[in-house]
Amino acid sequence: MGDHPAEQPAGATGARDERVILDDAAIARALMRIAHEIIERNPDPQALYLVAVPDGGVPLARRLAKNLRQIADLDVPVGILDTTLYRDDLQSRGSRPRLRRTEMPSAVDERVVVLVDDVAFTGRTIRAAMDALIDFGRPKIVQVVALVDRGHRELPIKIDYVGKNIPTSPGDDVQLQGGEDGPLCIVHLPEARRARA
């Protein structure tokens, strides 16, 4: 989840006050368009390597890989890269965030690595992901997919492929909901309503 994972557990938000920004069909369309854009922008698609930022990036990266197979007959590897150990806010916290799994099935050297995250926000998760990635080798190019870009960047990070831009306030909660195999949706809970919930 953008920056940083699961600060707001899904159950803690009142379902009535959530607004669905993207439903499963809209997510499917966005991921198909992004798959086409990835092919368009990369002259060497054989070098592509999708690397998901858990938790939200994982089901999205799997769907992107499926789309790439369908439209370009590409077998793109999917890795999972936890960024928690690279976060820049660990010093200031009393207790430690839970770690997620990391599985990098192929070497990243000379690959075009496409990081996949659900929500782009401050940019700090992407910064951490780039540091983590470089510990695995030297990618040729690193690009970023975010299903939703909610703005409020705090670092000079650019998202290469955006599903949808949505205006938010910094205190809002925007998150991907749904399991790896089930339907997905992006919900937006504005701060004002969160306070009431």
Partner: protein, 321 residues
Amino acid sequence: MIGRDLLRIEDLEREEIETILETARHMKEVGERDIKKVPTLRGRTIVNLFFESSTRTLTSFEIAGKRLSADVVNFSPRSSSLSKRESILDTARTIDAMDPDAVVVRHAVAGVPKRIADVLEAPVINAGDGAHAHPTQALLDLFTVQAEKGRIDGLTVAIVGDIAHSRVARSDIAAFQKLGAEVRVAAPPTMIPAEVETLGVKAFTSLREALDGADVVMMLRIQLERFEGALFPSIREYSATFGLDRHKLRYAKDGAIVMHPGPVNRGVELSHDLADHRPSVILDQVRNGVALRMAILYLFAGRKREADRVQREAGPRVGEV
């Protein structure tokens, strides 16, 4: 995590143990990378304060700290002013004044890590105190069994050897019971503490009976120098009665694994062949020990007394963040 310090298994809730084991699983992946280092504890200082000599545990904590990018300082009594009769608590306070983020303590006397924890700002990790507790060993044993068997709950664990004088036995009993395993012990009567059955542990003086149906056989090191002639008649007799070899292992359940906290007295508590080959998992225990201690340092280092209090008042606990 409720406590600031890790002193004994008995202080941990089951969910906290599970958080530690889950964290260790992820730390193990870091140890399998080409670059076995993450920046997590950059700028943090960890002091290994070992009053009792140790190579394995000390090295394990040192590697764990370094893989997390902490600065690790080893402080051992021979090179210290303890020889100038400085008290243990003075030494600990002196180290605390240098502002470490965690102090890992080993001492030959039970209770010393607790006494040190009572006066320090920094969190204290117990790396073994007398015959009292060795929580990180018990946690790495859980971690190893979980990796081998896929679970702890419902397993039968037989601990064989000098139960009465073993901090590993004490911590293992608490740890395995907490996660739902049945624990048995086997030893000559002189090595079984009187109160062991009050812990819900079945005590056997026959190895064969203790092994019957066991999924895990934990062999303990016999401290030859201290006990021969006092607790058992001879090494040869001990080895014949309580030593484990492939033949006797057949009393245990099919697929049972053999563990040992090391170092092994080869040919005494464990046959040469079993010490080196499966189903013994002794080197896996060592490997897992680094990952487990990375998890401990990640979860505990930097949680000073003040920060801890603020956290308890205001914030969520580990695993809920």
